[in-house]
């Protein structure tokens, strides 16, 4: 499944990029415009993706079980939610919650340890990066 999904996505990307580039000033080979280069690259990508799709269809290679592995996908989802929550709740709370989730996902049977580790790592990271290295970590409504 993933084996065919990736070339399919690449085909879409290449085609979309070439269509987008065709709408830009194209120029000529002696005076190439902004659309010239991405048009060529997009077409090349679409052609290679077509070749990959054909090869994939022949070999019927794929890794559906790995694609459905829920743990990495759950972690990626949590990480994608993190930036807006970070802006809203600030570094301390959002990072603590994220780490709690990650520790729990890694060791579901030990919630007490997960809470302790999440608080401790957030505190250490806040002190190390926020105070010592003076990285301007986002602050929430409560000032941390």
């Amino acid at each position: 499944m993933l084996g065919r999904l990736v070339p399919g996505a690449l085909l879409l990307l290449g085609t979309g990029a070439s269509v987008g580039a065709a709408l830009m000033p194209f120029g000529s080979p002696s005076q190439p415009g902004p659309g010239f280069y991405p048009f060529i690259v997009g077409i090349a990508l679409a052609l290679v993706a077509l070749g990959l799709l054909a090869t994939e269809r022949q070999s019927r290679r794929g890794a559906p079980t790995e694609f459905l592995d829920p743990l990495p996908l759950a972690i990626a989802a949590a990480l994608l939610v993190y930036p807006p929550v970070l802006g809203w709740l600030g570094f301390g709370v959002s990072t603590g919650l994220l780490l709690l989730g990650l520790f729990l996902l890694g060791e579901p049977g030990r919630p007490g340890r997960a809470v302790g580790l999440a608080i401790l790592s957030t505190l250490i990271a806040g002190l190390l990066f926020g105070r010592l290295l003076q990285a301007p970590l986002p602050k929430g409504p409560w000032g941390f």
Binding site: S30, G33, V41, T55, E56, Y82, P83, S121, F129, A135
Partner: protein, 500 residues
């Protein structure tokens, strides 16, 4: 004489107390990330990059380069003690290093790895010292057609040597070139693929992309694997190798150094290739090849020497031509650009402090690594004993803070995570993302050179064939493409995959 004066200038820069400190921090962090599977030199350099904005460019690059070559040392520790390569460049060390550890000879294996790394690393830096100036002088004469040919050759070589197979690697390189086209285009300032977003005006940040693909992507894969570690910690044995060990390792160390440096000059996963080639060479030269895989010290000395020399070799195209040959050197290029230093033929004359300072610091850094590494083995073992479910979230935390600190931007975290997920999925589908990263950083330079060359040739692509150097590069490009096409499109190279 010029080289002698240059290296003196370099040592004057490198031995200031501040730069010695930055070098020490760099090699220590490098060793640490080499030890930790999941946090590679790419993520570590990106993480520490924002902390260098307040210091001189020479100091910054001295520290960041230290992470790169320091990681080659650190990788051997996990390979020998845990049969887990901290870096892809230490895979071959697992074969005999872990067997030595199981036989109670972890100490000599670690010592030979450190000694070989030091000797070959220093040889590599010496070769870098001698090779870089003449190459830079040659490169200064290159025009847009030559640069286009050279960059194209670099890209197709990366694709050809990729473990994912030619078609897949070419697709990844093309994605990288397309991503590099996002934002204001380099000649007229026209906005491409920005969709009205101000955040995309400057293009897609290379650093969050690289951190995502190599840092977060690896962490997600590790979570998926549920990595288990079997550490050999009962006894390290005597740390010091016997006279017989030293005798047996001398040849492999020297040969690994030469082979590694030459491989390092080639774009692509050259450091990995150097270790595989060195292991194969030593096995072939051995009178008892059957010992390889059962704890032969030559199998540790060769690859460990080769990876350090290759790291030095890969800095030659970066410093003299401005061409990165691997993700860590691409990120070093980005770091140099952020500090207002453009690597390339003029680096030696415009920023001698950076050029020679980095080279001189590598002599010192290799010595620091030798002195520090063996006493710190116990500490690294303790770090390795931290269970993966605890270690991986901490690596995520460090990466998140690093991505945010680049520009205090939440978008960078989002981009990093998105590319982390993409990296994970691509890895599952047997795609190698190295060509994507190299193409992303080279993309804008490649486009500028290509368009300038076409303008010079009045639109005729024959410009690439009428100039000798450019024609030579294009001939090489054609040969490499033919070799790539000759292999089945998209078929991953199982042999090299196994080596990784």
């Amino acid at each position: 004489m010029e080289i002698f004066q240059g290296i003196l200038t370099g040592f004057a820069v490198a031995i200031t107390p501040a730069n010695l400190g930055y070098c020490l921090v760099g090699v220590l962090v490098g060793t640490l990330v080499g030890v930790l599977p999941g946090l590679g030199p790419v993520a570590a350099i990106a993480l520490l990059l924002p902390t260098t904005f307040g210091i001189s460019s020479a100091s910054a690059v001295i520290m960041l380069a230290g992470i790169f070559y320091g990681a080659q040392y650190g990788g051997s520790t996990t390979s020998i003690l845990a049969n887990i390569p901290g870096e892809a460049t230490s895979v071959m060390t697992c074969l005999d290093g872990y067997q030595m550890a199981r036989q109670g000879r972890a100490g000599p294996a670690l010592a030979i790895a450190a000694l070989g790394s030091f000797v070959a690393g220093t040889l590599g830096v010496l070769a870098l010292t001698l090779a870089a100036p003449p190459l830079a002088r040659l490169a200064i004469r290159a025009g847009a057609p030559e640069l286009t040919g050279l960059m194209l050759l670099g890209l197709v070589l990366v694709a050809y040597l990729s473990r994912a197979g030619g078609g897949r690697a070419i697709a990844m390189a093309l994605v990288g070139l397309l991503l590099g086209a996002v934002g204001m285009e380099p000649i007229s300032g026209f906005q491409r693929y920005t969709f009205g977003s101000l955040e995309l005006l400057d293009g897609i940040g290379f650093l969050p992309v690289a951190m995502g693909l190599f840092g977060i992507g690896e962490v997600l894969s590790s979570f998926g694997r549920g990595a288990k570690r079997e550490l050999v910690t009962e006894t390290l044995g005597s740390l010091w190798p016997t006279r017989a060990d030293l005798r047996a390792s001398a040849g492999p160390t020297f040969r690994g150094g030469v082979l590694g440096f030459l491989c390092g000059l080639i774009p692509g996963p050259s450091v990995v290739i150097a270790t595989v080639a060195s292991y194969a060479l030593e096995r072939r030269l051995s009178r008892h090849p059957e010992r390889f895989g059962t704890g032969a010290i030559e199998g540790v000395a060769g690859p460990e020497s080769a990876n350090n020399a290759a790291a030095a070799g890969s800095l030659v195209p970066l410093l003299t031509l401005g061409l990165p040959s691997s993700p860590p050197t691409a990120i070093l290029l980005a770091a140099l650009l952020l500090h207002g230093v453009t690597p390339g033929p003029l680096l030696m004359t415009r920023h001698p402090d950076v050029f020679w300072g980095v080279i001189a610091s590598m002599y010192i850094g290799n010595l620091m690594l030798l002195v520090l590494n063996l006493p710190l083995v116990g500490l690294f073992v303790r770090i390795l004993l931290v269970p993966a479910p605890i270690l991986l979230p901490l690596i995520v935390l460090v990466s998140l803070i690093g991505a945010y600190s680049l520009a205090n931007s939440l978008t960078d975290i989002f981009v990093m995570t998105l590319f982390g997920l993409l990296g994970y999925l691509l890895r599952k589908a047997a795609y190698d993302t190295t060509p994507l990263v190299i193409a992303l950083v080279l993309g804008p330079m490649f486009e500028t050179a290509l368009r300038q060359a076409l303008i010079m040739g009045h639109g005729s692509p024959l410009i690439f064939l009428t100039r000798p150097a450019s024609a030579l590069f294009m001939l090489a490009v054609a040969i490499v493409i033919a070799l790539t096409v000759a292999s089945p499109l998209g078929a991953p190279d199982t042999a090299s995959s196994a080596a990784r």
